[in-house]
Subunit: 334 residues, 2 copies
């Protein structure tokens, strides 16, 4: 593990994208957000993921040279076609559109189809927070999780974000519908560790904490068992139907995770909450939560999003921790 | 257990409310929805809950004679004060307002404060579906669940609904953030049964499937462990901040579960999805899900909301199953 300054990371990623004829604005945006993901501790969707993104570009699964186009709009509701473009560019644009619609209508909702992996879901929640708005967004994915009672993966793990701006550190939930990501399972396999809670089912259909067994069976556990499976399906129905895009089921037939469907909602709550009352409500709720009695476990009592700031500050000061092999792989993309 | 025709139930409940000087429109609405809850299989929030509601009315915790009032509005975003009125009346009204706003803006969002228990969360999702719209709604509750790493309950279990209309049976997720409700735990205690999955923590802080231990410790398990705790907090922040109402923390100081905060979103997706494309997307996704390979367990493979229709049809034909003691208790309220 080495530490590299964020600016060096960003400039390196940007140049690699420019070398592939990615338009300058898109290259800058993608490099900035991927760097930020690592800076803020979401390493799995930061630098570590960059070689895979470049692979998708080189294989022409992701088109770098397109912008989303409006399909339909009515008031504060729009749907857009991402034209198989860069997932970060499309998603950032669509949350931006939702924010613009919310400025006019108090709330805005944009559905997006035919887009690619948006990398870190939280990015678009923070985008809303930076505009002073609450944000909700979700995406579907390739089928990677069985529904409850089933053995074959027909649901996506469909990350969901709820974000609420707060001056002392935004409230931000970014959660997939599987208890553990395949990335987390693979890391545990490499370290020869068991997961602390049921990670899924083994090939015989027994519930197991063994990450290798779940990676082999492809039967990850939904959060809350039947509940997470149901919520995953609902998120998929919303994302695909609002955008007239692919459901997880349809994505599964494409070969590779592409042409996804997403939904972005921004709420300009300050329009209806004059003064500092909303801020005080958040402050009091956070303070009450953090005053919880610890249960004696090693699990820290935090509010969602709390730990991001300190990770960011440390990584800004000391550099972003990067696996040397990953960084070598990135530099080999020049 | 006996079976009583839905009309008899509805007329009985309505008369009991009228006898308490509940305005006729409110009495009819509350009786209708509580009857429907039992008719459609949500017994815990149907007739079984009616005596408790009447108790709250008799103790003047719930005011039967008020209507919600508009506090602020901007475009498609409004917040309303429920004035400690009937939870069903307030919530139905606010999803109705969200639907009206969505007719004008494509999407509508209404936040509600100072309301009472809405009984069955699904009610307001179905309300959106009946208007041909997608619906999202959520409520906070009294603090009844510890956050992750904590021993004392400072989060609500904050039910969340996502509903999408479909001609062959609406897609509807209605889920609390705790793995099991206290009602489900209490039922299991009565039957001397263990829960199939971790229900919470016992008094010593050990994870347990024993419902009696969890009822005693008040430490129910969030769905997906840390994930459900985080989502619960985010739902609470949204519901309380958008409405300038009570957070779960503030509700906990009131003594009793009252003056809750809720959020209602309706999306008139047909405005941007011409033709039958959205319907076909739902149909294909449902068919693909139901074609899952069974895992050999007794867990049925269903889409969320699927089982409601058959329960409703049976209960319409044969009458609603009601515990005789509960029905005696209801009739004693005359």
């Amino acid at each position: 593990m080495t530490r590299i300054q964020a600016d060096e990371v960003r400039i390196t990623l940007e140049q690699i994208l420019l070398d592939r004829n990615c338009p300058a604005g898109h290259a800058a945006k993608v490099a900035q957000e991927i760097t930020r993901n690592s800076l803020e501790g979401t390493y799995s969707h930061g630098i570590n993921r960059f070689p895979r993104l470049v692979g998708s570009i080189d294989q022409q699964e992701v088109r770098t040279d397109v912008e989303p186009v409006l399909m339909n709009g009515f008031g504060a509701l729009e749907n857009w076609d991402g034209r198989s473009g860069l997932g970060i560019v499309n998603a950032w644009f669509c949350m931006g559109r939702a924010i613009e619609l919310a400025k006019d209508h108090g709330i805005g909702c944009v559905a997006l189809r035919n887009t690619n992996h948006w990398l870190r879901a939280a990015t678009y929640g923070y985008e809303a927070c930076e505009a002073g708005m609450a944000g909700i967004c979700f995406t579907n994915t390739i089928p990677n999780m069985p529904t409850w009672g089933a053995a074959d993966p027909r649901l996506g793990n469909n990350p969901l974000v709820m974000a609420f701006p707060w001056k002392d550190g935004d409230i931000l939930v970014d959660m997939a519908m599987s208890q553990y990501s395949y990335g987390a399972l693979e890391n545990a396999v490499l370290k020869d560790e068991q997961m602390p809670f049921a990670a899924g089912f083994d090939a015989e259909g027994k519930i197991t904490c063994d990450p290798a067994a779940v990676c082999a069976s492809k039967r990850v556990m939904p959060i809350g068992f039947w509940k997470g499976a149901a919520l995953s399906f609902a998120l998929d129905i919303f994302a695909s139907s609002l955008s007239l895009g692919n459901s997880a089921s349809a994505i599964g037939k494409l070969g590779g995770e592409r042409d996804l469907s997403q939904t972005f909602i921004a709420i300009d709550f300050a329009r209806v909450t004059p003064g500092n009352e909303a801020e005080d409500i958040v402050k009091n709720a956070v303070e009450d939560l953090l005053a919880s009695t610890p249960d004696g476990s090693a699990n820290p009592i935090v509010y969602p999003g709390q730990r991001m700031r300190s990770i960011r500050e440390r990584n800004l000061a000391e550099g972003i921790p990067v696996d040397e092999r990953v960084w070598d792989e990135v530099k080999a993309l020049f």
